[in-house]
């Protein structure tokens, strides 16, 4: 009683390649594009090593041509309006549906994934993505009136889901009125090029979608190209980091969807058989070449032996073989190079110890195959537990308590996804917010839908794809200023005290206490007339270290109730209000502004705190319309610990505009106030001290922005850094942020009118202060 073979025919896909004489063209400006002198590289079927096609390697000329085509097409595409763009997206969805088998077979031949997966998972998701975004385009003008297209997107996608990642990139970009240049991975260009033909068939205006092929060099040229406004990358963390650095300071929007080492937690009350089956979908889906693969298995000690036994028995039933065979579970690894890398990593990793079980199913005699593998007794200290293997290799360990499960789950540089298996809803819903990641699957794994966001935290990248949040990545706000910010220098003057008052030296504010700066230095602050009006501590990198440490002990702020945070903000506003006059005077004396304007700044600051106190319990998440019986939550979580370098202008309002939303959303902060006018901030200490804000939630370091910006941006325990100062630090901050790939929000030297509500407050600030976490909760008895 064997299953036998039931192969899907490759004929139509081969015929499509033959139609092009085996030599493919890029797709630029609405036409197949083949440069006159061009190098080609080979695309092979990893299952049998057969040559599928020759793919052209783009050069600077083609990159430039494609970007120019996209630039030229962009305004017209955007101005078509949502409904017209929706029609095109709808047509694309329909056409892909009509050719879905060809796409699926071609994908499996090019990538090596089982036809079941390309046919039953990838293609339906691709089609769904275009339908969903046809809807997004339709609704854009009405629902997102403040948003406009970013412009031209440069998109680079990986080889593990060639067509699906293309859809994730292209559909939202087009919906929001952007045009784009996309580069598929060099191993897997074919379905992208077939998609190019579909664009022509759909009558898409020329230049809206441009597809260029080649290796990493082409990607590098593309992201650095000055005609690009937005870079979207899915791929390895190391390349993501390079991109972050390469485009630092170029005013390009960036979203990164990078690697992962996602935990898979099995509790002793779980349906163990179903949890075993879940692993088949977690780590043996697409041969484990999935960024969000549940690759770290943690089983509660009491059931670990039983669970591992069940798992091994299940592994022995897995069938590895010809990707076009409809009865295989695992197909081929994408390329011999990747196979080598998996083999190497496992071999070297096992020198540190561990138990190996390999699925007993047969492997084909030739081709690029790796067996389903389980490595148990792998501990956090092991390389295999830390590094992404990107193959069908599961590493496992055990845990004792829910707290320990969370600790193990979070003991990683990555933060993409997590699966939690338990029949106890209290446990599941308690744990879901505690795991640092973008997606949590309860009693399930690897669930995707266009309506549900996907993306990571930490070194798994930033930005979301899918859902409402995904649209943010392809839009920018209309009302932001394009004017350059004037650099404000610190005032200088004489070091004589201005009055005969008692000397007041402002210290730093760290861990709820006023502390002296580490280096023992202070610097004077002069009034607009050049009189010394105070001394402030000269903060340095060690003060940053101390402040971040203090902030990280205050993380429970993020878990306190929104009501409590609102109350504290109201209290803060109240305490500030009674000192309006004093704060206004301080602004006048530092900046030389007229007192009316200064009073207005203080009053606006109070109002702004009120605004975010109001938002604290109203910036809700949502429930997404995923096609499951269950709910897919989109929950707004605090980003974590944020370093904020405040604007030099509007010394009080600038600071308040940034810290109030961050505090309201539950973040802990390390703020650096206006460099020339720091006293409005240091005057706030007493307001904070009397407003019940838990210690460590807000920390302030007076410092020279240029001295401290990179330290802050490079600090690996900070989850985000914001920069609104007037010195030209945006580029160096973006560059330094690549250390742990923290989120950055910088002004690129452009000004912002803090007094105007459209620029100075609103959802833009709340979004920057939050991360969306999607929690999939299937239900049913």
């Amino acid at each position: 009683m064997d299953f036998g073979k039931s192969p899907e025919s490759p004929e139509q896909a081969l015929a499509w390649i033959d139609k092009h004489g085996g030599k493919m063209s890029m797709y630029v400006n609405g036409k197949p594009h083949q440069p006159s002198e061009c190098e080609f590289f080979e695309s092979r079927n990893p299952a049998n090593g057969q040559l599928l096609a020759q793919i052209p390697q783009a050069t600077e000329v083609e990159v430039d041509f494609a970007v120019q085509a996209a630039r030229k097409a962009q305004p017209k595409w955007e101005n078509l309006g949502g409904t017209e763009r929706a029609k095109y997206l709808y047509a694309l969805a329909r056409l892909i549906q009509k050719h879905s088998k060809l796409f699926a077979v071609l994908e499996s031949m090019d990538n090596g994934k089982p036809i079941r997966e390309s046919r039953d998972i990838d293609l339906p998701l691709v089609i769904r993505h275009f339908y969903y975004h046809a809807g997004s385009a339709q609704l854009m003008e009405k629902e997102m009136p403040d948003h406009q297209a970013v412009g031209v997107a440069g998109q680079i996608i990986p080889w593990n889901f060639p067509l699906l990642m293309l859809a994730w990139k292209i559909a939202p970009a087009l919906a929001m009125g952007n045009t784009l240049v996309l580069k598929p991975a060099e191993y897997t260009s074919l379905t992208a090029l077939l998609f190019g033909e579909i664009c022509s068939e759909a009558g898409l205006p020329k230049g809206v979608v441009n597809l260029i092929t080649g290796d990493g060099r082409v990607g590098e040229m593309l992201v650095k190209h000055e005609g690009i406004d937005k870079v979207a990358f899915t791929g390895s963390t190391s390349v993501g980091r390079k991109i972050r650095k390469a485009i630092a300071g170029q005013k390009k929007e960036l979203t990164l969807e990078l690697g992962g080492k996602s935990p898979y937690l099995v509790f002793d009350d779980a349906d163990l058989d179903s949890a075993v089956e879940g692993l088949v979908d977690a780590i043996w889906f697409n041969q484990g070449q999935v960024c969000c693969a549940g690759s770290r298995l943690f089983v509660q000690e009491g059931v670990a032996d039983v669970f591992h036994k069940k798992l091994k028995a299940r592994m022995d039933k897995l069938r590895v073989g010809d990707p076009l065979d409809k009865s295989v579970d695992l197909g081929a690894i994408v390329d011999p190079k990747q196979l080598d890398s998996i083999t190497q990593l496992v071999q070297v990793g096992l020198e540190e110890g561990g138990e190996v079980h390999v699925g007993s199913g047969e492997l084909p005699d030739s081709g690029c195959f790796y067996p389903p593998t389980l490595l148990t007794e792998i501990d956090p200290a092991c390389r295999l537990m830390q590094e992404e293997i990107f193959g069908p290799v599961l590493v496992g360990s055990t845990f004792r308590t829910p707290d320990e499960a969370v600790a193990l789950a979070n003991n990683t540089r990555y933060g993409l996804a997590a699966s939690i298996w338990t029949e106890n809803i209290n446990l599941a819903l308690d744990l879901a917010p505690k795991i640092v990641c973008g997606v949590v699957w309860i009693n399930s794994t690897n669930q995707f839908d266009a309506s549900v966001e996907f993306g990571g935290r930490r070194e798994s990248g930033f930005g979301r794809e899918g859902g409402w949040e995904g649209l943010q990545a392809y839009t920018r706000l209309r009302h932001l200023s394009k004017d350059c910010l004037q650099v404000l220098e610190s005032k200088t003057g004489i070091l004589k005290p201005a009055t005969s008052e008692i000397d007041r030296t402002s210290k730093l504010f760290i861990g709820g206490k006023q502390t002296r700066p580490d280096n023992g230095y202070s610097y004077p602050v002069f009034s607009a007339e050049g009189k010394k009006i105070g001394l402030v501590g000269h903060g340095n990198r060690k003060d940053v270290r101390n402040a971040v440490e203090a902030a990280n002990t205050a993380k429970s702020w993020g878990k306190s109730t929104a009501h409590l945070r609102a109350q504290i903000l109201y209290y803060l506003a109240e305490n500030l209000a009674v000192r309006t006059e004093e704060f206004a005077k301080r602004i006048v004396s530092m900046t030389g502004e007229n007192s009316l304007s200064a009073i207005q700044e203080v009053e606006l600051s109070i109002r702004r705190i009120f605004t975010y106190a109001a938002w604290a319990d109203k910036f809700d998440g949502g429930i997404r319309g995923a096609p499951i019986r269950g709910v897919a939550l989109a929950m707004n979580e605090p980003v974590g610990t944020i370093g904020i370098i405040c604007p030099d202008e509007n010394p009080l309002l600038g600071l308040v505009s940034l810290i109030a939303p961050a505090l309201a959303m539950g973040n802990a902060l390390v703020a650096i106030p206006s460099e020339p006018f720091p006293l409005s901030a240091t005057d706030l200490y007493q307001v904070f001290e009397t407003s019940d804000l838990p210690k460590g939630v807000f920390n302030l370091i007076t410092a020279k922005h240029s001295e401290i910006a990179e330290t802050l941006a490079g600090h690996m325990e900070l989850d985000a850094v914001w920069y609104f100062g007037s010195s030209k630090q945006s580029a160096s901050i973006e560059k330094a942020s690549a250390t742990n790939l923290k989120r950055t929000w910088v002004n690129h030297g452009l000004c912002r009118n803090w007094k105007e509500a459209k620029q100075g407050e609103g959802k833009e600030f709340l979004r920057q202060a939050t991360e969306v976490k999607n929690i999939w909760i299937p239900y049913g008895e």
Partner: protein
Amino acid sequence: MKTQPLPEVKNHRRIQHCRLPNKVKDQTDKLLRNSGIKLDLDWVTSVQANTSAIERRCKTLPGRRSIKKANQAAWLLKSVSCIDLTTLSGDDTENRVRRLCRKGRIPVRADILQKLGFQPGSITTAAICVYHEMVRAAVRSLEGSGIPVAAVSTGFPAGLSPYSLRLSEIGESVKAGADEIDVVISRRHVLSQNWNALYDEMKAFREACGDAHLKAILATGELGTLRNVARASLICMMAGADFIKTSTGKESVNATLSVSLAMIRQIRDYFERTGFKVGYKPAGGISKAKDALTYLSLIKEELGNRWLQPDLFRFGASSLLGDIERQLEHFVTGHYSASYRHAIA
């Protein structure tokens, strides 16, 4: 329509390579009959069944396993040999039962069997399943065929007749010549989580069966949750059931893949922990050859090949056979078949 060439000798060989159902019977190890174990409530209450996850597995299975051509023909013949050909109607008569039994002896037209490389008479259904009053007629009609008679019992289908009558009904059927007794459980014991009562009842049924094999019908469509289904499965095995069976065919929801998965996972665990192999019988609602293949795939994947023999797997079905015959004829002729070309039961 592309016509398929008539199968040649090559095909026969391939089928034979796939282990012929009638020969397999001889090759398999003799079953050690499940004698049951003491009721282990800790085990029972630790059993979980996550409905969404189970459904997901079932939904993806047909896409994961596809059985074509000669393999499919072999699997379909295997299905035939696992069918409990059934009639359970108020209007059953002895002649009607005789007709059914004849079909059980000759389930597939001789010429089709021959083309598949089988001697006529070499393939029969696994059993004939009837009400008690029809047992004698069935036994008579099946004389010499080796096909066992199964009787539904214990106040089938609701199981709500007096306890003493339910018990004695088993004895009567055994006396009348039934080799297998399909008993219904008291659903109320499951719904009120009265596991002791369910265990005791099943144990008494088993004793009443003597040497006759006991199939415990859970009536899964009336148990409310998959968790209940899984726990009830385990109790019945602990009490000594030889088979666990989904349904009477009279509930509004009968055999489903989800219910099957929940039940056979318990069979697997029971075997792992006690060494006893218990059989599985989905009944009701399986009428297409394609469904039969999916069920067999599920059994193969979750329990393994040993459970693909009629001593451990049965289909409780009446119309399934007709569809299988049509598919087999399609395989040997290359043309889609018509139902009137095949004998009715």
